[in-house]
Symmetry: C2
């Protein structure tokens, strides 16, 4: 357990051997010497009707001398046994704990809830090497290799260059007992000794990192137990070169050393984050032996030191789309000198390794049902598919969903409005601010507001307030703030030739302007048009399930996203936020190299749609400017939410009229969204 | 020709395809586009009785359009054809020239006389890559790989890290036509793109380097044609850390930064030498893509950045004995960033990669006859064997053979005595000095001597003068300068309690002292004792053929070496100097990677004898102190040279007597020689 694999073995078979024979991954560093403590298992006692066996502690061998020595020296939790020493003496249900903790480290709650079957690319192997012998003058390294072949079956080992000068002193320091870290990512590649320590070395870590345009997120995880030691994030310092990706590409184009400066900057930030997770997890950076990275194509290129200019113009050519195998030292990462790096493949010029990570995490390709996977950022990356077929595209949503280009927009921080409700009768708003649990109409809110301030509207609340304005009839189906409502509420205020809605009028005026509504419309129309293209490509009218990846998805209410028509109609219970799915995919690829092969295969299979090349994108975009959509019905949403009656208005400030001129403005917007 | 391989092919088969099918190596960079000119062949016309065919120019297709374009643009020597374009139309004897010269480079006379069949680890492959396509968003690198697989059959290509950031600009600069250098050293390793150029790149070079303690020697060779572009040498600057190897090991032991300083120093010298051979051969250092190194174990370790201290004390443990695969950039070599490095395996703690190179060059393991291969330096490396069995050892000859520790010894330079003859009647010497073609008793010598000076005795002449002294009866069988001869000649002069022989008494007194003779005896006894151990190990009394490798062997007269008993009795015509055999072996491994596999296999098979562990070494050493030897007869030598009658003397200054005290001195010497 938990794999459920079963088999028959002769009495006296070590549990570890049985596990290996069944293909169940149980770590062992010391090679059965009962010194590393990595191969812990537990026996489940009881009558297991399902398996038709009775499993009891009598069916496992008693603790022997070697195991007792380990227990006395290091201790072992109640019920735990070392599977290299305990032998099978009868029917057993054996549990392989997924949190094996050595040296009494603190166990933290894992931020990833799933259990990832482990098969890391790096393995620790302890060996006792023959001492030098004048009669058989094999070199130190050669005798080490011979023993790694004899004890662990590693043939034809390569050796990281940095180890060669150190072999002799490490062997002598360990009194000829050493632990080697062996990296083998795939069957066809030759295994390599990437690190070497004197004596038994019982710690091997990896990092899984998602390099976002705004935030870099990282998990630090034990490759031996799968335990997440720390998870953290840091701002991407490239922001000083440009908020959004395209302005960073421009920076590279305009500045001779721009690419190099950006590469240095992102790698430095990653090193800072490595320091941070290591401090948090109490792990030495030299114990990090493997690293997996995902990121959008531009971050991917800049991290690898590649000029991203080509990604800023058609045909949006990636310099490299396949998975990249590299070394930490090549990328100047402050981890073990021999550490390896794996970068997930990119799907297309606008659909990066981060989208590949999200696909790996959410596994649409293993589903019978049709899954829509959306990662909303400055660019929305959209994947749609099931086990038969997967298609992908990106849509230029712009920064509105991140709170930029919104008059009262701000980052999610204390004092920012994060929830909004508008009374359909009075048009009065209620809201919550980050840092307070109270709604603005509840007792005690005033004190909280006094303390925290009411400073702006954060990205996710933008969706909510515009949707609520629409549901309350403050804005029309085509997104115009209805000035005639000013008669009903002082919250509707004139703003030049257009109207705004006043959410809060405390120390700071917080209003939603006509321009704000337009920005949200443009962003959501781009996203929806991209989704529609993929649905058309596959030939479906509806999706079965929707996954929102990324921070944005975690905070928005699916209902409001659907009211605004960001996403197609779907059962609300089937719309789920999955957090940093890209990072989870990276973690999976870190802990199990077969996931690397899986995503490489899937990415080759994914059909890519370039929205800029699709003539129907513009039509879908124009239709999607309406709330929730000009042509598509939202029957499932209508069951849950009372949508307002149709109301078409034109905003005075925009020149009025819904004739040709209006049309042409939307077309311009569509064109803008596509470049 | 020259391989002699033959086969039948359908009419119309391109000659290049036929060659490949037969396993004959014919280079091609452009992949059959008739643009690189590397696949040149010549048709031999005539009636070939041996092959029972008539080969005529009518049997090869006429020059077609593509080939004509090449000829017009680049020119082609009379009789040459491009085998990618010329097809077989009848019986042909085809010559594959071993000197294919492109772009009218000067052909130099090759310092290596043998023809080395080529199969280099690096191959150039020109491809035309698909342009980027938004509908199939494969990355630039991925499309390059796809084309290298399609056109050249390379599957599963890896890529050198330094190329990744450059791929996009190189592809665009070459207008999607690029030349990739692919490195694959062995079947089991994955091929790797190590360099990339825009357009057709038609030059690929390699260096083969022997890192000697005194001199570093290098060949620069075209990997495409096998042509040696330059060969040169440079002094090993480590000499400032210590003349001999052991003093360099001491330097490392005594100085905290000693190892690093020595490594830097030898790598810098290699880079200087690379500049030198590149200037000489008119080759760009960036066109060097592969490098093969040999060296004694201490140079091997220092070059690779390994502390050699362990090699200075029992059990003389090598840090690494097997072949080392590395990168030029890892070793700070100033060659192409992606260039590979291969270092031949070491045989034992005192028998290095240089000895392995000499074995590869002289191939005792492919001989039926018993070959003795000796490389004399401060340490003599000795290999003995044939196709059944090969044994190896080293013997601590000390620096006497290099002219050090000899009172009048000096480097081989103008004015140094290089040849000596002593008249058996008058005991008068005749000699030649470097820089003059005359013997000292010939007319005109005085003028040469006036011009050049007579400055000392060079290493090789030391052997000759001591041997001539012995043949003239000036020294006894046990190496004592016979003071009683002073009565016969004023050349025998007292020197404290011993006697010296005066070779020249011009401006500089040049004498051979008793101490000089002793130094030569100690050195030659150590060498001979080592050889005897190996002969005993194999169970033979005589060897069939002897090879002297190294500079020393090139200058000594085999006869005198045998008179002194450096080497065992053998037909004099079977004693050959083979020059820098280690360097030749490196060159072979550079031009043909199957030689790498061959020497790796042979080295594993070679039985190593540690002279310090063999109790019989001392006995052999003491016997070998005598001239030519106390116990071994030299029947073949005696047929050619009249050896003097036995004469035993003891040198007064050494305490006299041949009793226990004398014995113990020789034993001390033997012990000294073994530590």
């Amino acid at each position: 357990m938990p794999s459920g694999k079963r088999g028959r073995f002769p009495k006296g078979t070590p549990v570890l051997d049985a596990a290996r024979e069944l293909g169940v991954y149980v770590e062992s560093v010391c090679g059965g010497r009962a010194t590393c403590g990595r191969c812990q298992i537990e026996v489940q006692e009881g009558h297991f009707a399902k398996h038709k066996i009775v499993s009891t502690l009598d069916h496992i061998s008693p603790v022997g001398a070697k195991e007792r020595r380990y227990v006395e020296k290091r201790g072992l939790a109640e019920g735990r046994r070392l599977s290299c020493s305990a032998t099978i003496e009868g029917d057993l249900v054996v549990d392989v704990p997924q949190d094996t903790v050595i040296n009494a480290q603190v166990v933290r709650k894992s931020p990833i809830e799933r259990i990832i079957e482990r098969n890391p690319a790096v393995q620790l192997c302890y060996v006792e090497v023959d001492e030098p012998d004048m009669h058989k003058p094999l070199g130190d390294l050669d005798r080490l290799k011979a023993m790694l072949e004899k004890d662990w079956g590693w043939e034809d080992l390569l050796v990281s260059q940095h180890i060669i000068p150190k072999v002799q002193s490490i062997l002598r320091k360990g009194n000829w007992g050493v632990t080697a870290a062996i990296h083998q990512d795939m069957e066809s590649s030759r295994p390599t000794i990437i690190a070497l320590w004197p004596g038994l070395h019982n710690e091997a870590y990896g990092i899984a990192c998602d390099i976002g345009s705004t935030t870099i997120a990282m998990h630090l995880v034990s490759l031996l137990s799968g335990r997440i030691a720390a998870s953290s994030g840091i701002s991407n310092p490239q922001i000083r070169f440009g908020e959004d990706l395209m302005s960073r590409v421009s920076y590279v184009m305009m500045n001779p050393d721009g690419r190099e400066a950006m590469t240095k900057s992102v790698r430095a930030a990653i090193n800072t984050l490595i320091e941070k997770v290591c401090a948090e997890g109490n792990v030495k950076p030299e114990d990090i032996l493997d690293a997996v990275f995902v990121g959008n194509p531009i971050m991917h290129h800049l991290f690898l030191g590649i000029d991203p200019t080509e990604l800023g113009q058609a045909p949006f050519a990636l310099a490299v789309s396949g998975a990249v195998h590299s070394w930490g030292s090549e990328l100047n990462l402050a981890i073990n000198l021999g550490a390896r790096v794996y970068v997930l493949p990119c799907i297309a010029g606008h659909v990066g390794a981060d989208a590949a990570g999200a696909v790996l995490s959410e596994q649409p390709h293993h589903q019978d049902r049709m899954m829509l996977l959306v990662d909303v950022g400055t660019n929305a990356e959209i994947v749609l598919g099931n086990s038969h077929r997967v298609v992908a595209a990106s849509s230029p949503t712009g920064p509105a969903f991140e709170g930029a280009e919104i008059s009262s927009g701000q980052r999610a921080a204390p004092g920012a409005i994060e929830r909004v409700r508008i009374d359909k009768e009075t048009l009065e708003p209620r809201y919550k601010i980050i840092g307070s649990d109270l709604w603005s109409d509840e007792e005690g809110f005033a004190a909280d507001a006094e303390r925290l301030g009411i400073t702006g509207i954060c990205g996710s609340a933008i969706i909510e307030v515009v949707a609520e304005m629409y549901l309350a009839g403050i804005i029309s189906e085509d997104g115009v703030v209805d000035g005639s409502m000013a008669a009903r509420s002082p919250r509707i205020v004139p703003d030049g030739r257009t109207w705004s809605y006043q959410v809060s009028n405390g120390r700071q005026q917080i209003t939603v302007t006509q321009t704000d509504v337009r920005a949200v419309q443009l962003a959501k129309a781009a996203l929806y048009a991209g989704i529609k293209l993929l649905m058309e490509k596959i030939g479906i009218d509806e999706v079965d399930t929707i996954r929102f990846a990324g921070a944005f998805g975690s905070f928005i209410d699916p209902k409001y996203a659907m009211v605004l028509g960001l996403i197609p109609d779907c059962e609300l219970s089937e719309v789920k936020a999955v957090g940093n799915a890209a990072g989870t995919g990276a973690l999976m690829a870190l802990l199990n190299s077969s996931y690397r092969r899986e995503i490489e295969t899937v990415v080759r299979r994914i059909e890519k749609i370039e929205t800029a090349l699709e003539p129907r994108f513009q039509t879908h975009f124009v239709d999607a400017m309406a709330l929730p959509n000009k042509t598509d019905p939202f029957p499932r949403l209508s069951e849950k939410v009372e949508l307002p009656p149709r109301k078409l208005l034109s905003a005075a400030g925009e020149g009025g009229g819904s004739g040709p001129r209006r049309r042409s403005r939307e077309e311009r917007a569509a064109r803008r969204a596509r470049t």
